[in-house]
Symmetry: C2
């Protein structure tokens, strides 16, 4: 936070107290993370509809760029599942999967979302991290997970997939699976089973074998790399790719990416702007929440504005280096933290290690079956499907549950961006809808105190000539008629009332519509010889009302406290 | 109201006490109103891009339908300017002005909006009258008035108009006016001048000549009919239409409309559904506000649900009888009221009188110059342009001023429906935006009382180990981080605090996001040996919180009153 408060200092905060021991810890963490990074990079590039090497390229320079500008010590930046899914859905209408055009579009997407993130960072708009409610984020993640799993079932069983909504994938699935490629399907199924079992039992097993909890967690996280290596060995030994027709990753370049700007075309830029904005927003929110939960364990704070700059720089770098949109990923960051990373230099170590792999042993991964990569995507996605989340949310507040469900179903049926848009619209409408259903209580005095409470909830004293109503919401065009009806009904129930007190303790705003209608109410009451008083008007509201004709026209008075009003009217 | 409460009684409330005197009053009022109705009907039909007779047809049976179902005694239903403008803008992309296709589309629009109104009436959705804020309605009216005036300048000067947005009309205007038709322009200008002067001075003049105020107002309102008759006489005497080429209304049928359903086509129905919804909403809101302001003078109340049925029936009838969408209009209703109308039977008299005119003297209006009709539209529209409205709104509340301005400019540049949509979106976002900027105050005790107030606004007592913050807004995902920062900063300013009390007297809702973050805040404070307490939690919120883990996890306690909390912590 200190760095953030003092502007964008070039000296990163983690340099304080950095020493040889820290450097050794970073070295180990970086080497551990690269073992996860290789299969994830390849898998997420394929998920995004790109050649596998794009994933490797996206995992080198972006990490370095984040290390230079970001604020988290342990966040591991690179391709992640949800952002790759969004990339795929943005590219799909414009170019064929894996084509050079698709690669160019992915670079543009990364450039645009990186540019947007940097712009937001420079404008210090870190607050956009709070633009989406938890139900919308969780619903989005759940819907995306289902969409990703559905999509990956096709390569898992060695068949071609069509359709980009959950619905069209689900419809295409049965007939596609009927034509599954036996050898691929077998290998895929075994990989899923192995990874699922490892995910569940490997950590506890390693701990029972004597490893420390942190090391056991790390070991379990390396299972995908082991499965990948075993699959490569099997494929090579049994010549599965050539003899049995198992689809493999295929030729990978053994060279570093050449840096270059993507081609810019106005029409395409326009088409990609909205998806780029969605990718920037979702990527930022996912990354900040990962970084925040890690920082909390160390009693540190991350600075959302520096995060915007760090992620923006990482995406611009991904674009220049032939990659795809990137962000901070949960699983790699957790391993990085568990492996003892002390600074973003751990990420630099990962990047360097990846360069060594790319230059020396990249041909090793050319015979990696695609179905195993699909398995390595599917298994972690299952953890995002948590029905208890939805149940808990619904029981606490049905509108929140509805926002979760609508976002998830929206992602599945309408697509990722439309799903988010639906969720955001719904959560904003909920705010307005709740404000338009104000709780209005007739109140009376709690005997022996200066406190006033709802006559229905407490034993209170009331007087026949005074009617006091408390409005528990800002007054605006959407709820002023509810107040009018409440006053009318309360007066019908208490026809002896000569004074109506509106207690505005919960009112922070009165809009122009509500003000006009309050004036009308005042005149209608005056015609019936009833005086309208206001009480507990907040300072800013009172300042605002002083600029209108209300104080002059009001039949009654404006009191500071409800108690003052009752005392005055009881004299 | 009694009728509304008791369901849709077939015996209309105005029948109570209806007698011979009432019938005579209705007869007079109906005859006075028909003198306004003829020019207005013709003018608004042309404004809607339809043959003039559609306006006459829309002024006969719809009035009778409203009389049967509506709840206002004096509302005069028929074609009105804004609804005709909306009809024109809905039809324009689909058919040429004045073509048989345009007539068919107008019938469909009336049928659809009538159907929607009846549906809303049956569902008792009268509350939709409050869906639009006053700034949005006023801004919409002002923008529409400018749009109508711009559009009518073309026929006023005898030239063809192109374009359907204010912008395109304004751009086309100068070159069009350069080719103005001299005789038409002269007659149009004289008509505008005469009507404007009559509007301003005729009423007072008649009063000075000894008429009663009501009669003077009525007389002034008949000026358009006089101007129309003079213009017809001039045209006939000087043969202006044939010799000078002044455009006139042209042949009118001298027969009653034949009833029939419009042709229904799915594609066209879909294209018209949104405009029909907008017409229904705007027409309903305009009509209800006219009816309400008239009813208030008589201490009566109108029932929004019956109004929905009445207007819906009127529109369905307009569709069956060859008309166009209709609603309750301000000027005719005011004259109807001033002329002493006692019941909707006055409208039936108008309808019958119109039938007589149509069957006997309709050829009289065939030589009525269109420029005079344009003048009769332009002059009343100027009263909707009221810059003081905007100034007053802006000075009271800038967001309301902005909604007014955005709606008006939206109508002018984007079109009528997009303009409303923009205004509604903006006024909803304002509600959310204000909720996301909560006022949070550190509070202390007003000495000698049990009251607690903002330390910045009142002389209050505070204690170093207690920090109490009052949140003046519902807690939700959009403002919970503001609360987090406020607590953090207040603690930094008062590091001795061991207790934080959140005073929730203004909080009626806590959403799932805010709840999770409150739990996190509780744990962070607990780690610093600070207890988090809640006070003044409202009943419904408390009920909701009881269903969560918060009561169990909270480091501090939940107090009923702030005073209780301070008393307990000061012991």
């Amino acid at each position: 936070m200190a760095g953030g408060r003092a502007g964008f200092a070039w000296r990163p905060p983690w340099l304080n107290g950095y020493n040889g021991a820290s450097a050794r810890q970073d070295l180990v963490a970086g080497l551990v993370v690269v073992m996860m990074l290789v299969p994830q990079s390849l898998a997420y590039a394929l998920l995004a509809g790109l050649p596998a090497e794009a994933g490797l390229y996206a995992s080198i320079l972006p990490i370095v760029a984040y290390a230079a500008f970001g604020s988290s010590r342990t966040l591991a930046v690179g391709p992640v599942a949800v952002v790759s899914l969004m990339t795929a859905s943005a590219i799909a209408p414009l170019a064929a999967t894996g084509s050079p055009e698709a690669v160019g579009l992915a670079l543009l997407l990364a450039l645009l979302s990186g540019g947007l993130l940097i712009l937001c960072g420079v404008l210090r708009l870190g607050v956009i991290a709070h633009l989406l409610s938890h139900p919308v984020v969780n619903g989005f993640m759940a819907g995306s997970a289902v969409l990703i799993i559905l999509g990956q079932l096709f390569p898992l069983f060695g068949v071609q997939g069509h359709g980009h909504t959950g619905l069209s994938l689900a419809i295409a699935l049965p007939s596609a699976l009927a034509g599954a490629h036996p050898a691929t399907a077998l290998m895929g199924a075994v990989a899923v089973l192995t990874l699922a079992l490892a995910r569940r039992y490997l950590g506890p097993l390693l701990r029972r074998l004597g490893l420390k909890p942190g090391a056991a967690e790390m070991g379990a996280r390396l299972a995908p790399m082991c499965v990948v290596l075993v699959a490569i060995a099997l494929t090579a030994l049994m010549n599965l790719d050539q003899d049995a027709g198992v689809a493999v990753v295929g030729s990978l370049p053994s060279s570093l990416p050449s840096l270059g700007l993507p081609t810019l075309e106005l029409g395409i830029l326009q088409a990609l702007l909205l998806p780029a904005g969605a990718i920037a927003l979702v990527g930022f929110i996912e990354s900040v929440s990962v970084a925040q939960s890690l920082a909390m364990r160390e009693r540190e704070q991350i600075d959302p504005n520096r995060e915007l700059l760090g992620l923006g720089a990482a995406n611009v770098m991904a674009s220049l280096a032939g990659g795809l949109p990137v962000t901070g990923g949960l699983s790699r960051s957790v391993v990085n933290y568990a492996a003892g990373a002390r600074s973003p230099l751990a990420g630099v170590v990962s990047a360097l290690a990846l360069v060594v792999i790319l230059l020396n042993v990249s041909e090793l991964f050319e015979r990696l079956p695609k179905c195993v990569l699909a398995a390595s995507i599917i298994v972690p996605m299952t953890s995002l499907l948590n029905p208890a989340d939805l149940r808990r949310m619904w029981s606490y507040s049905p509108p929140d549950g509805l926002a979760y469900l609508a976002t998830a179903l929206g992602v599945l049926t309408l697509g990722v961006e439309a799903g988010i848009a639906l969720g955001v619209a719904l959560s904003l409408l909920t705010v307005v809808w709740q404000a338009s259903q104000p709780h209005i209580a007739v109140i009376g005095r709690v005997p022996g105190t200066e406190q006033y409470r709802n006559v229905k909830r407490a034993e209170v004293t009331t007087w026949p000539h005074i009617l006091a109503l408390r409005v528990d919401e800002n007054l605006f065009f959407g709820n002023i008629s509810t107040l009018e009806h409440a006053v009318q009904e309360a007066l019908a129930a208490q026809p002896t009332a000569g004074h109506v007190i509106l207690v505005l303790s919960s009112v922070s705003h009165i809009d122009a519509t509500a003000l006009e209608r309050l004036l009308e109410m005042n005149h209608r009451l005056a015609a019936r010889q009833i005086k309208l008083h206001l009480a507990e008007v907040k300072g800013p509201v009172l300042d605002q009302l002083q600029r209108t004709s209300l104080p002059a026209e009001l039949g009654g008075r404006v009191f500071r406290f409800t108690h003052e009003a009752f005392s005055a009217l009881l004299d």
